[in-house]
């Protein structure tokens, strides 16, 4: 069948917001894409698909699954049909994210110093105290320009009413930005004419913006500060991204064993001796940063790093202890934070969230399980999730026991019908659920969000889980004018 016919039988799933289709019509922003697809036959689409996966494989844009001593290389599945957003939709997202990040940043400053939000009883103290990511060790540390969240990847979803909701705040070491950039490069190779004629806003300046911000955070007044990207090493699943960003910014990619702290200063071990480092963009979790303060068994960190951080001789990006702000139980209080700190109404709504530590709401969730998704507050990557409409008896009785023994570690949310977007699968167009992760950068001159982001796709039919570790893929994301 020619793509014309294929496109015509693609309707999206009823009951979901489809990004391309509205009833029998195509949405306006997709006009160019639809037109270009109609000119191609299935075979050339398949060829493009093959070319894309070869490009990813040869460039080593892979993540590695290790068993025994043989690593298996997997590419992060890429769907060749771009996801399109309009400038107006983007404006809503951009304003909403900026507002949210402003409030979250103020919250972090507050919670690690005066704690007024607790004294004013907006957020219960026990919620903070019981959060495993609240780091007492960094309380009172002054960070440059009072910025805690330099880099964020807040997950958005679109409900069946077409409204964007915030699903999750990722304020620690959000990953995936390299895929956003590489996806665009690959799409340029696959559909040069389409990209050129669609007036797609540029994302490629992300590394430059990031580099600028990193440079501006240097604590010492020197003209050429040393910035380094700290990676856990080649076995980390996001290692490709670390090398990608280091290369794009032209900064050294260091491991913990490359650094040493002497007299509260951080140095790199080079072939010409020690060289001081002023700013560290770390992709190592808080727990592993400094074995003297956090996990003593960590071989990934640098002994003495936090002491140097406290002294102010080195800036760490993102700040240490941000996990308290993206905890899934704190998430429910972000709208309250926005009202408290900014005296504004939240522009982007939260998904309704039920705290499992409250016995009444817990019972309510259990009674309405089939409409609920239960998540661990301190897990990411889609691990430890219970989808109420899919869970088996046996799994549920096990999960229920766990929840009842430690309710603080769980929250529940109603299952949101994520919007669908057309994907090219097995020679046909099929609707799959998608989310959106835009990447925001915050520096002394304000918050900047590159127009676009990573659209993650749940490639299994009907699945609502988009995480790459759970069989998700991605799409190039366009904001067009």
């Amino acid at each position: 069948m020619d793509p014309q016919g294929l496109l015509d039988i693609y309707t999206g799933d009823p009951g979901f917001w489809d990004e391309m289709r509205i009833g029998s019509e195509f949405r306006e922003p997709y006009r160019n894409v639809v037109h270009a697809l109609k000119l191609l036959d299935v075979q050339s689409l398949q060829q493009k698909e093959k070319l894309a996966s070869e490009l990813f494989m040869n460039q080593g844009i892979t993540f590695t699954v290790y068993n025994d001593d043989a690593g298996i290389e997997r590419i992060f599945p890429f769907d060749i049909i771009p996801r399109v957003l309009t400038g107006d939709e983007w404006k809503i997202i951009e304003d909403g994210l900026k507002q949210r990040l402003k409030a979250l940043n103020l919250f972090l400053k507050d919670v690690y110093s005066e704690q007024q939000i607790i004294q004013d009883k907006i957020i219960p103290a026990e919620l903070i105290a019981s959060c495993p990511h609240y780091m007492r060790e960094v309380a009172g540390i002054q960070v440059a320009h009072d910025i805690y969240i330099h880099i964020s990847g807040i997950d958005l979803i679109r409900g069946d009413n077409g409204i964007f909701y915030v699903l999750e705040d990722n304020l620690r070491t959000p990953s995936g930005v390299s895929y956003m950039l590489e996806n665009r490069e690959i799409t340029k190779r696959l559909f040069p004419e389409l990209v050129a004629s669609s007036r797609v806003r540029r994302v490629s300046n992300y590394p430059l913006l990031l580099h600028e911000i990193l440079l501006s955070l240097s604590p010492a007044q020197i003209s050429n500060p040393n910035v380094a990207l700290l990676t856990p090493g080649i076995y980390n699943s996001a290692y490709y991204e670390h090398t990608f960003l280091a290369r794009q910014m032209g900064i050294p990619l260091v491991e913990g064993r490359d650094l040493v702290v002497d007299n509260h200063k951080v140095y790199m071990k080079t072939t010409q001796g020690l060289e001081q480092v002023h700013v560290i963009y770390r992709r190592v979790d808080d727990d592993f940063l400094d074995p003297l303060i956090f996990r003593p068994d960590s071989a990934l960190g640098v002994p003495g790093l936090i002491a140097a951080y406290r002294k102010g001789t080195v800036a760490i990006v993102n700040a240490v202890g941000n996990g308290v702000a993206d905890d899934k139980a704190i998430y429910a209080f972000v709208p309250a934070m926005i009202r408290y700190y900014l005296n504004e109404e939240p522009l982007l709504p939260n998904v309704e969230t039920y705290e499992m530590s409250n016995p009444d709401t817990r019972q309510y969730v259990f009674d309405n399980l089939s409409r609920m998704v239960i998540k661990r507050t301190n897990q990411s990557g889609g691990y430890g999730m219970v989808m109420g409409n899919k869970v088996t008896e046996e799994e549920w009785s096990k999960a229920k026991k766990e929840i009842e023994s430690d309710p603080r570690s769980f929250i529940a949310q109603p299952i949101i019908n994520l919007s669908t977007a057309p994907c090219f699968i097995d020679g046909k167009f099929e609707g799959r659920h998608v989310d959106l992760r835009p990447y925001a950068l915050c520096g002394p001159s304000g918050i900047q969000i590159v127009p676009g982001g990573l659209t993650r796709v749940a490639l299994r039919k009907g699945s609502l889980i988009v995480n790459s570790s759970q069989g998700g893929g991605s799409k190039d994301t366009w904001v067009i004018d």
């Binding site: 460039q59 080593g60 043989a70 290389e73 050294p252 990619l253 260091v254 064993r257 490359d258 080079t270």
Partner: protein, 313 residues
Amino acid sequence: MLSRIADSLFWLNRYMERADGMLRLAATHYIFSLDKDAIRSMTWMPVMEIFTDSEEEYLKSIENNTEACLKRLLIDTTNTNCLKTLVNRARENARGAQDHITKEVWEEVNQMYHLVNQPALQQKIDSFLSLEVMEPFIKHTVMYAGITDITMPRGTGWCFMNLGKYIERCLQTIAFAEKQLELTNFREADTNDLLQWKYLLFSLSGYELHVKTYRSSNHNYNVLHQVLINENFPRSVTYSLQRIEHYLNKVIGNNISEERSALLRCFGRLFSKVRYMELDSLNKDTVPAFFEDIKTDLVDFNQKVVQHFFSYS
């Protein structure tokens, strides 16, 4: 440059150079082993002794079995020097230094990695297609050398890459020549017979140069000259040492500390031994000791380089 990066680049090139040398030796041996009236017996023993760390007994049991030997050399990962392990390690080093090598270099190493991990290799070796297995890899190692030469910036990293490459190459040339001498026992009576050297020259890609350069019939002398001191032969010991000297000086630069001048002295002693050697003095009795001597010095020098530049963990 980070010490760890310098270390990774050094080893990336050592592994690639080793893979290249091993492939050339194995391919040469394979072709010669097909020859009916080969001067040497069919044994794979010498190759296996250089590139595997297996027990002698085990080697004896497979020395006449081409497929078994090639499997051990190419894909048997219990052999720490097999091609698969060498490429995997090269890639691991490349990955660790990914932001310091060019995209093209990375892609080349990555392609070799995917090639060497193909399950089809074993089948091909089993069905007498060993050359078909080895030749693409030889091409890739040559490509790798070309791509690094064309795309890599000439900074500190380049110097460490080349130090690794030429130290490895020098050790290889010595090892191959030593093995050949051991086999022929430097037979002076057969001095007119080039055939016994042909195999060595082929595996060092130096046969053409040899027949073009050397006219006299004292082949033992000629081959030693080529392998040790011919400056035009890119695999000779002298050539490799000259390159090492060049890159060592560049790395050290003007910043000469006590440790660094010790490193320079150590290298100088080694180079002088080769540079001022009297070729006539080498004979059946003195040659093995001479090779052993420069090999020990070179390993010692390598150790010092590692200690001085790469100690980071």
